[in-house]
Structures are given as structure tokens and as C-alpha cells.
Symmetry: C2
Subunit: 353 residues, 2 copies
Amino acid sequence: MSEKASQGISESANRRPEPRILLAHGSGGELSRELIRDVFARAFDNPLLNAMGDSAVLGELPPGRVALTTDSYVVQPLFFPGGDIGELAVCGTVNDLAVMGARPMYLTAGFILEEGLPVDDLKRIVASMATTARSAGVLIVTGDTKVVDRGAADGIFINTAGVGVIPPGIDLGPHRLQPGDAILVNGTIGDHGLAVMMQREGLTFGSALESDTAPLNGLIETLLAALPDRVHWMRDATRGGVATVLNEWVEAADVGIALTEAQIPVREEVRAACEFLGLDPLYAANEGKVIVAVEGASVEAALAVLQAHPLGRDAAAIGHVTEAHRGRVTLETPYGARRILQMLTGAQLPRIC
Amino acid sequence: MSEKASQGISESANRRPEPRILLAHGSGGELSRELIRDVFARAFDNPLLNAMGDSAVLGELPPGRVALTTDSYVVQPLFFPGGDIGELAVCGTVNDLAVMGARPMYLTAGFILEEGLPVDDLKRIVASMATTARSAGVLIVTGDTKVVDRGAADGIFINTAGVGVIPPGIDLGPHRLQPGDAILVNGTIGDHGLAVMMQREGLTFGSALESDTAPLNGLIETLLAALPDRVHWMRDATRGGVATVLNEWVEAADVGIALTEAQIPVREEVRAACEFLGLDPLYAANEGKVIVAVEGASVEAALAVLQAHPLGRDAAAIGHVTEAHRGRVTLETPYGARRILQMLTGAQLPRIC
């Protein structure tokens, strides 16, 4: 192997040690400012952030109700097939706004860094956040960085909070769910949970098992524009998966939900990985999947809208709302049996997001 | 000592093991819901939070520009003289809004918990957040909890993001700083940094060395109401202390600032602790101190307003803005010498907030 070719593989080993995060990067002093300038401001670059005040001053908000949300991200590993903690931190918060019918507009970003984190890892994560924010049409306008001593955190934790605006006329929630509503999902389930778990366990299943991490606001906006009054409720099926979201729905709305297993889209690789690890895709995390309740008569129209969008190609109607078993989610198996999908009780997949 | 009296001291040792945070508390399933219901919702109790949506839907905002901020809190120890991480997490974010001239209104709360954290510690911290939020007049409207495995975090990290509104007519910032402006502080400096450091080192200095953690929005609102156009800029002097804030000011506004050491209020205990630990109170963190630039002619009026408020009793004018040494903060010592206060370069006090 020529010297040049070998450099491509072991480049870092032949050069000075890679820069790492120091406690002083969190001191508020010179190194903090350097980090802000060279990493965060460079990647997120926008006038509201660049003002560098103690708070960002937002532009005028459009008419409607303001929605506010927050999530912390502690996923392990930081980089996984189909995404990384940075992309996740933007998508998760964008999606929490979008499912409320809000147009996501502004994000905050709070970083907790472990002393010793390679600066290049941070840069890669921040670049991923910036790219994702751009594609979702949101601005990261203010942030914060803390550094903790080695061993007091695990690489990096990210918190994002988000502000969005729910346009007048949008009314989603448990009060809108009614018997006969169809339950849709915009694609295959369990992809994120299983991609992360397999990576964590050091397993591969040959073909591409990738996280579905994606910002759903474009898809949801299209759906709401097409069927403004027919969509009754939405939720992204993250931690705890589809089964957990639907259990929360039946409790909040005092209805039953009946799913048909054969209708639920699950990738072959995910099914195989689930069997291998003893997991159920219905409880596995998704980061680009929304559960939608639409008026029963609009199910075909809603499916057509979803399937026409790149993030909804595999959309399917997976069940319906019923009065038959209030407070319960049931699953009809391919053999015609029906079982109850309980609320998740253990910690199926820790640190999945 | 009677059996009853001794129970007061060693109560926990004689009973079943105290409940601790489990990984399953972060799963999104049954235990997550229990934690939300029994700990967070109970303490923060308000209709916006209780709706338990993916995002909180805020009430109508008053006229003005919307301000958005975020901070993560990683202070160690979690409980220190004069405060705890929960109180800090509310005050820090409230203050970041208040110094922009905003009325703080809504907060988010993101928790990263280490497996094994005593549930009672969490409850105590959450109760402290609730009390502080009430006293600051803000609502904690949405939150998130993640649990990481033992050793992957250090007890608890908290992120708060905050939304506030800057009323029309308020205009603060570097562009308002002008030569002749007086620099005020609302009381003694370094209290927080030194209280935390002494506790961390297991040292006591006899008398009460306490953190100054406090929500400053009431004080600031009073000042802005009294002298709406005379206040030019404000900043809370947290990480990096007064010297760091003022170094950022001289850089942003292209002016000089001259401080008079004898005018700067420092508690005797803080001075002693600083000498013992080799620290400078000008670089030590504060969590209830605001630096205010006011028009020179209004210095007495501003001081009177501050000193009439419980959080401003020790307010003092500590220096002024000057054209004499642009880009520099200088300190005139009691002996008449003048030295330059550099930007903080090392990590003087890690994990101070």
C-alpha cells in the first residue's frame, strides 16, 4: 500500500492529536467564545443568532396560537445508520410542533459536552443540525454550551426547544377523535429503534437497516392543506412506538382503537432484527413517523396525499377508532385472533433518542 | 435520646431502600407517565402543562417582540448553600429574558436523569423549580425526561428554555452604550461562585456564604418602568462573572469601561474564600446579579430604584463607559494603580451553573 493510500485509513494516527473539548470550553471565557464563533455560529449562521444576545429576539410571528416544546437527546451511539444525534435533535422538536398543527419556526440548542469529546465529532453533529434545520425551514436562534468533566456525561447530550405557530382554524386533539376515524401511518415502523439497537450491539443484518429520522413538517403541512378539517389528531410515534401513542390516545379520548397487523408496514430487515433481539416493532421508536387520525370518509384522500410525498410513500391505513372496547388498543393478527396492545411497562430500548 | 428523636436523624437508614430513578422512567411507557403525573405535573400544575400535548399551546402573547432563550444546568453539587440546581434552572433562564427587557412568561424543562438518582432528590429539585417559577411569575408549560444509565450522567442535568415578550419602546443593546454611561450592579458579586466552590471543596468559612440565585425580572421591570429610556444595556453576570460581561460589552460596543475596585461590593466571606482558593470575585459566577448601563445623569435615580428593591439593597455604581481605552476594561485599585481586566482565559470554575 502506498504511503498516500495508507494515510486515508490511519490519517489521524499519523498526525498531531485531534482537538478535544476542554473544561475551559464551558467557562464562559475565551475558549467558549471561540467555540461559539468557530463551530456554532458558523454552522447555524442567521441574523437572529448572530446578534448573540442573552436571548434571541424573534421576527414577528404570523397569526395563530404559539406552540412551545422541548426535548433532550441522549441517543447512544451518537452516529447511527441513517442519522446522528444532531439530526435527531432537530427533527424530534420540529415534529413535536408539526403534529400539533404548528408551523415550526425557531429552535434553541443546548449542548452538554463531556470533556474529551473530539471537536470533529461536535462539528459533524452541528453540521448535521444545520443541514436538517435548513431542510425543515427552521432557524436555530439561540444556544448554550456546558462542559462537564470526563465521566460525568456520555459524549454529548443535546436539548432543543422549539417555537411554532398554529394557524387559525387548525383544531387537533383528543376531543376530535370519533368512532369510525381511520388510523394512518406514513410508512414503515420501528426503523429508528432497530437501526440504533443493531448499531449499539455491533450487529449488522447485511442490507440497509436505517433510521427514519426526518422532519415531518412538510408532509404534515401538505396533508393539513389538502384536508384541513378532516384530520382529527396526530402524534409522532417516538419512544414507546406506535403502541404507546395509541394507548395514550384511547385513554385521553375514551375510545377504543383496533389495528390490523397485516396492514402495518414493517420492513423485512426490521422484522428480522426484532425477532433476533426479542423486540416488537409496535413498541420500537420511530423518528420520522406520524400517526394520523382522519375522518373515515377521507381515508383514501388522505392516503393519496401522504403517498405522493417522499416521506409518505409507504403510508398505510392500519386501523380505526371504535366504541367497541374503550380504553383499549387491540391488534388483529393475520390468523384472525385479537390481542390487547398494553402500554409499554419496562424499558424496552433505553437511550434510543 | 428517645427512639422517636433518633428517627429524625437516621430515618432513612431504618426504612426500606429509598426509591430511585430507573431506566424505565425514561422509556416513554408506564413509569414515564407515573413520573410525569406524580412528580412534574403535581409540582408545576397549570392548565397549559396539564393538556400534555407534544407541545404546549401558549396563551395570547402581549404586544411586543418575542424573546427566546435556553440554558442547560450541570452545577455540582446539586444542592448548595442558598439554592439548588432547580432554582438555578428557573432563575437563569428568567434572568436571560429579563436582561433583554423582556417579560418572562413561559418556560420549558428538559431533564436528563442518571439511573439511580434518588426520587426524593428529584422531587426536591422539582419543588424548588415550581416555587421559583411561581415567585418569578412564569409558567413551566412543557417538559421532557430522559434517563441514562448509571455513570453516563452526574445525577441530574436540567435544560430550561424561556419565552418572553419585550414591550414596545424598550430598546437595549450595545448600540445604546455611550461614553459617560454609569455601570451599576445590584449587589455583592461572586456569592454564587464561591458558595458552590466552598461546598464542593467541603469547606466552610464559619458564617453564611450563600449563593445569590434569584429571579431578577421583578427588579428589572421596576427599573425599566422608572427610567424607561435611561437604561441602555443590561446583562446578568453569570459564568465568567462581571469581568467577562464587561469584556463582551467593550468589544460589542467599541468603547472602554473603567471600574473602581473600591466601589465594587464584595462580601467579606467571599473575599476571604477567594483569597483562600486563589480566585478573583470579578470572574466568579453570580446568579442574581445584573450589570446595568444607565445614562450618566440618571445614576442616582437608578441607584435609588435598585436600592429600594429587596434584590438591590447593596446596589452600587462601580464604573463608567469611556472613550479613553476602547476595547478594554480597566480596574482602578485602591492604591490608585490601574490594571486591565482580561477576558477569562482558563476554566476558573467548572460546573458552576
